[in-house]
């Protein structure tokens, strides 16, 4: 309400003011007014802002996967395995490798679905449900440009590599693959591709030079399979304009020696990704690994690197699992050492040969070489198998006895020897067990038929194999018995041979019989082999390596108590 002025009549009586002067003065009345303000000050206000600006956004766009492979499966294939059931297990995720730096690239892998989802959504046909560790192997390979899958033999490196290749082809990340393997394994790879990825067209590089040249340049099949020997013959073609998005080397220990032609040619192939598959990344020395990495990433590893440092460097690139680690339900593998006395005929021949041989070696003085010693070793080992004069063999007697039992129970066995000639003798002696042969002198085209017959024909109880032809890549898990008629120099090769039978799908326990002639060179070599086996286990188990796994010069000469000559000798493989 506005203030209003009121008029008040004061009507006051005026009275003179008494002073000391004679006349009183009239005192004027003065009225003073003072305006009083009634307006109040506006209150102070405080404004609180609430931010309304949008948050900053970071965006990443990924390519759409390639159109699904609408490939019809051959009618003979069994129905696809049911979708993987996780049963409470965590799904398998693809993790970006440490050497992928760009955030966009890392997110591409982080944001990929679990493998189980991918495989189910793409309706990928699988004849069997993969094991969880196999999913992990695929997830390891998939994002890697340099990788070594070093699983123990029998864990399915082939299947894991094929599945990873299949997924990369489907996602459009790769379009051309070259797979290189030893010649005897070409048919095995073809069979495995047909089993695990039947929709992927293959080209097998084979035939005469003109045909191969045409095959190399074909761009229609995304996967080419070649053997190591052909790489050397077709070096000229490879040097031209060929390039691959992925090169996979099976049995990659073949390139461990960087000075070998095979290694040089493999390294010269133009490629984007490299994978190496091997069950024995270190056969003899840590330098074997350096050789493999010269293919994967030249200069990444150097000879002489301290084992601990080397282990650190390769950790990101190598995946190694053993059966003990991943297949707790795999049937056991039992070793029996059949330690046998030579037959009297063998013993007489053996003693003569060794004594004469050692005398000759001693007589050579400083002219002696490691080759001379090897020749004597091989000669003596052959006598341990069979007496050359009479054919007597305590090993054969034992083998026959064991095979009687194998055949009677309807089982099958593999017999390994390092000599084809020995296998031929065995074939004759073991004919009542229906022996089949699988070695370097059996033509490649016949080998699949041999394996098929061995698996399907109930009258064929034994297959005779050489270490070279039968030690890698074959699946003979229906065999429950393995006989090592003679021993190989390297325990890793023996393990590969044994694992032809002791692998996924093994029907039951695998019994390995290692035949050994007592008080002979075999027993002495066995002691060295046992030592090597322990060292190999140390490397694999602890990821650190002893200086050397090969037979040293002193060890080889020590087999006969020979004096070591001067000069540097190469360790034996």
């Amino acid at each position: 309400m506005p203030p209003s002025a009121l008029t008040i009549d004061l009507d006051l009586a005026a009275r003179p003011l008494a002073t000391d002067f004679a006349l009183p003065l009239p005192a004027p009345i003065v009225v003073r007014s003072q305006p009083l303000g009634f307006r109040a000050e506006a209150p102070a206000t405080i404004t609180v802002k609430t931010p309304s600006s949008r948050p900053r956004v970071f965006s990443f766009t990924f390519p759409e996967a390639a159109p699904s492979l609408r490939l019809s499966l051959p009618p003979s294939l069994p129905p696809a395995a049911p979708r993987p059931k996780l049963d409470g297990k965590p799904p398998t995720r693809i993790k970006p490798p440490g050497d992928i730096i760009k955030l966009e690239d890392r997110l591409y892998y982080v944001l990929q679905p679990p493998l189980e989802t991918l495989l189910a959504s793409d309706a990928l046909h699988f004849p069997f449900e993969p094991f969880p560790y196999q999913y992990q192997g695929v997830a390891f390979l998939y994002p890697r440009y340099s990788a070594v899958l070093a699983d123990e033999m029998g864990l399915g490196k082939t299947m894991q590599a094929i599945t990873a290749i299949r997924m990369l082809l489907r996602s459009g990340e790769i379009r051309s693959v070259l797979l290189v393997c030893p010649k005897p394994l070409v048919t095995n790879w073809r069979r495995e591709f047909n089993l695990w990825a039947a929709e992927i067209p293959l080209t097998i590089i084979e035939g005469d030079a003109a045909k191969r040249r045409w095959q190399w340049t074909q761009e229609e099949a995304p996967v080419k399979i070649a053997n190591y020997e052909l790489l050397m013959r077709d070096k000229g073609v490879l040097d031209e304009s060929l390039a691959f998005d992925l090169v996979v080397l099976d049995e990659a220990q073949r390139i461990k020696n960087t000075g070998s032609t095979t290694s040089q040619i493999a390294r010269s192939i133009r490629r984007t990704r490299n994978w190496a598959l091997t069950g024995t990344p270190i056969e003899n020395t840590p330098d074997d690994l350096v050789g493999i990495f010269e293919f994967l990433s030249p200069g990444y590893l150097r000879s002489g690197t301290a084992p601990r440092r080397m282990a650190e460097l390769v950790r990101e690139h190598i995946l190694r699992r053993t059966k003990d680690m991943v297949l707790t339900d795999l049937p056991p593998k039992m070793f029996r050492d059949a330690e046998l006395d030579l037959s009297p005929e063998q013993r007489a021949t053996y003693e003569l040969a060794e004594n004469e041989g050692v005398m000759q070696l001693n007589a050579m003085g400083d002219q002696i070489t490691i080759q001379h010693v090897f020749e004597l070793v091989l000669r003596l080992k052959q006598i341990c198998n069979f007496d050359p004069a009479t054919g007597a063999s305590s090993k054969l007697e034992r083998l026959e006895a064991d095979l009687e039992e194998v055949a009677a129970s309807g089982k099958k066995a593999i017999v390994f020897s390092q000599w084809v000639k020995c296998l031929e003798i065995l074939k004759h002696q073991l004919r009542r067990f229906g022996p089949l042969e699988y070695h370097g002198q059996v033509p490649s085209k016949q080998r699949d038929g041999v394996l098929k017959q061995f698996q399907e024909d109930p009258s064929k109880h034994v297959i005779l194999m050489s270490y070279g032809a039968g030690s890698v890549g074959l699946n003979l898990q229906f065999c429950e018995y393995v006989f090592l008629f003679d021993r190989w120099w390297n325990p890793a090769v023996e393990d590969q041979a044994i694992n032809r039978a002791h692998r996924i799908g093994a029907a039951g326990p695998v019994t390995v019989t290692r035949m050994l002639a007592l008080a002979t060179i075999e027993e002495r070599i066995n002691q060295v082999l046992e030592h090597k086996r322990e060292l190999f286990a140390q490397i694999i188990g602890q990821n650190s390596a002893p200086p050397s796994l090969g037979l040293s010069q002193a060890e080889i000469f020590g087999l006969f108590n020979l004096r070591t000559p001067k000069g540097v000798l190469t360790p034996a493989a």
Binding site: T50, V57, E64, P96, V110, S121, R270
Partner: protein, 216 residues
């Protein structure tokens, strides 16, 4: 055995059989080969020209980081579950005044209006449906035409929920008609998808992005 009778004829035959559009079934990309031992600039294959037409699903969530605040992530997947787009926000932290003034509406405001709306607007692709595992994110539905549903792992079916493939989802309250639209658009190829799983990926991606930010 003739393993490869010619890929082109093989592809054509298979395409004809399936009634698929012509062209190879394995996309043949331009070769990007290089010399051994060197890395390409980016590992990603080139983009598909028809990316815009790709049917996809969206997954939107907000993660609470103890120190940084709220981080939003939005992932678009094709029907096979492969990533097509990913968007994430810088950390969002409400101030004290917002906490007092917004009261109980703060969470839907931050999750839905601030973060959710922003992320949904950034995608190039339009998903058939967007899923979230956070109820507060549903507030973003007011700012988008895309149906937004709540999906929670192991949650029993509620009154308002309906089945989407192998999952139970709940439409945003007030948008009851979304259910019909979603069911009409839902492709059978997506039935196998676990709609909870992509949120694990988003969380890992946000973590990866934070690691990169810390390193930068």
């Amino acid at each position: 055995m003739a393993v490869c009778a010619g890929y082109a004829s093989y592809a054509a035959a298979a395409a004809a059989k399936d009634g698929a559009p012509d062209g190879p079934m394995i996309r043949l990309l331009p070769s990007r080969s290089r010399g051994p031992g060197t890395m390409t600039t980016s590992i990603l294959p080139p983009m598909s020209a028809s990316a815009k037409q790709v049917p996809c699903l969206g997954f939107l969530t907000v993660v609470e980081h103890a120190e940084l605040g709220l981080l939003g992530g939005y992932l678009l997947l094709n029907l096979a579950g492969r990533p097509l787009e990913f968007h994430c926000t810088a950390p969002v932290k409400p101030n004290r005044a917002q906490e007092i003034l917004y009261g109980p509406t703060l969470r839907p405001f931050l999750y839905g209006e601030q973060i959710g709306q922003t992320l949904l607007a950034r995608s190039k692709l339009t998903p058939l449906v967007a899923c979230t595992d956070s109820e507060s994110v549903l507030a973003a539905r007011d700012f988008t035409e895309t149906p937004l549903v709540l999906v929670r792992e192991g949650e029993a079916a509620e009154l308002r929920s309906f089945r989407l493939g192998r999952n139970h989802v709940t439409a945003t309250p007030g948008y009851g008609s979304d259910q019909q639209a979603i069911l009409a658009a839902w492709p059978a190829q997506a039935d196998h998808l676990d709609l909870c799983e992509p949120f694990v990926r988003i969380r890992e991606a946000l973590e990866e992005a934070q690691k990169a930010a810390r390193a930068a």
